[in-house]
């Protein structure tokens, strides 16, 4: 079966390049002829994951895997990890300071949004080691 994989490095605090991985992924999927609504869902979810790596982690990678049946995005970082995943998954839960939130960032919707946009969503994290988020959208035949 045809299969493709792309990897994009995402650096801590690199706000200039933040969003590049999701942009590239969006373009790639569009060229593959994926339905535009699906492209949009994947792009939004990937952007959230990418921003999480930039803001919260020490750096990591976003990986795109495509086969004719599904699109899978894995966002992997090298730490520090999420102490309480259950809490992090709650809508509105945020570790951002009051000041940052006042500016319109850190609304606590990142992880819930990723979950909402994708068909399969898992988050694994070891505190002190790192977090891996996997998201998958299934393609119906003909998409």
């Amino acid at each position: 079966m045809e299969f493709m994989k792309y990897t994009f490095d995402v650096e801590k605090d690199d706000f200039v390049r933040a969003g590049e991985a999701s942009s590239n992924i969006k373009r790639t999927l569009r060229e593959l002829g994926i339905d535009s609504a699906i492209v949009r869902r994947i792009a939004i979810a990937t952007y959230e994951a990418e921003m999480n790596i930039v803001i919260h982690s020490v750096g990591g990678q976003v990986e795109l895997e495509i086969d004719p049946n599904s699109i899978k995005v894995t966002a992997r970082d090298r730490g520090p990890g999420i102490p309480n995943i259950e809490l992090a998954m709650q809508e509105g839960y945020s570790t951002a300071s009051e000041k940052v939130r006042e500016m319109g960032f850190g609304a606590g919707m990142g992880l819930p949004n990723m979950k909402k946009c994708t068909d399969r969503f898992t988050v694994e994290s070891v505190y002190g080691e790192g977090t891996t988020i996997t998201m998958e959208i299934l393609l119906k035949a003909g998409d």
Binding site: E31, L32, G33, S36, Y47, I66, P68, L139
Partner: protein, 426 residues
Amino acid sequence: MDNKYFHSVILQEDRCIGCTSCLKVCPTEAIRLRDGKARIIGEKCIDCGECIRICPNHAKSAIADNYLDIIKKFKYTIAIPSLVLYGQFPSKTSIAQMLSAVKNLGFDEVYEATTGSEAITTVIANHILNKKHEKPLINSSCPAILRLIQIRFPDLLPNIIDIETPIEVTARIAKHEVSKRLGLDIKDIGVIFISPCTARVTSIRNPIGIERSYVDGVVSMKAVFGEILRNLGGSCKEQLVRSNSSSILWPIIGGQSRALGIENYLAVDGISEVIKVLEEIEMDKLDGLEFFEGVACLGGCVGGPLTIENSFISRNRIRTLAKSLPPAEYSKEYIDNSIKMYEDGLIRLTCEIEPRSIMRLDNDITKSIKKMEMIKEILKYLPGLDCGVCGAPTCKAFAEDIVRGENPRSVCLVKTMENFRNKKRN
């Protein structure tokens, strides 16, 4: 004429020296150099006119009509000059003078394009803004942006306001009014538009969102500028001016948003900036945005490729003219009537705007993936300089062309030179 791929932007071959300038600026990568000449890929071109503007040899131009030929075909003719015309002449020239100079080209009557922009503003502000609609609303007035959205942002098509452009609305109102006033058959009335815009030339022959345009001919503003200039001295006592101080600002970026009185709006000019902001909108990043006014040309329509005057200068002149005009005031009857024209479909986009997925490599996903893999492989051997010497705008486009089978004879000169040097060294 092959309507499917009709474009107003054309190449004068003898002037093209194959310099790659246009390759680089084309926002849809629709140009390739083949046999030393720039070729436009019909299905990718959105007629934005960026290539016309950049070409140092003036090899790119736009085809438009000769108005004298069209005038002969009709019993009664109406000219609609784009509002951009008001910025093309020195500040002392009055709107009435310009309008009568246009009329004296040989038309029976002149209609101001504000006829359309006023009706549209009224319908959007009093009707469409109150309806349930995908937000942000996106303006439908720039045909190059509409074509861009069809190709690159198909998901945003439902956000486009389904109302006709000022020119089309003006043409429709003019034909109906004149037909009623003079008892003429609509078929006997010809409307000619004096255009600053290449994409508009295309979209009048090959409309988006409507079956058929009410405009019967389009003349390039550049082409008739001289004749209008020579006519400026004539009498203009009978010429009425209907524009108001906000409807006249439509061809300037931000003019639509301000006329609509929307608070949370974004007005973006220049096609590359429009692409960037549409990307953000597509990613749901601009929460609460009500209205997006996107225009392909810098400064708005005043920056159109078929204008004579610099866009900053003409912007300033139109603003000065606006100060001498009365403020916008619309009667209840006018508002109701405009909404009725919209509801009846006279000034509404009644056909769906279809997405055009020209970016996809293949209709079959398995084949697409295979092709994408091949592109990735080819790219490994290319220098990544995006120099354009091979005839494609980027190394990636070069690889895509090979995989699509569109350019079997292509050669990367940089790579060839490198190989040659390495051989010599060994």
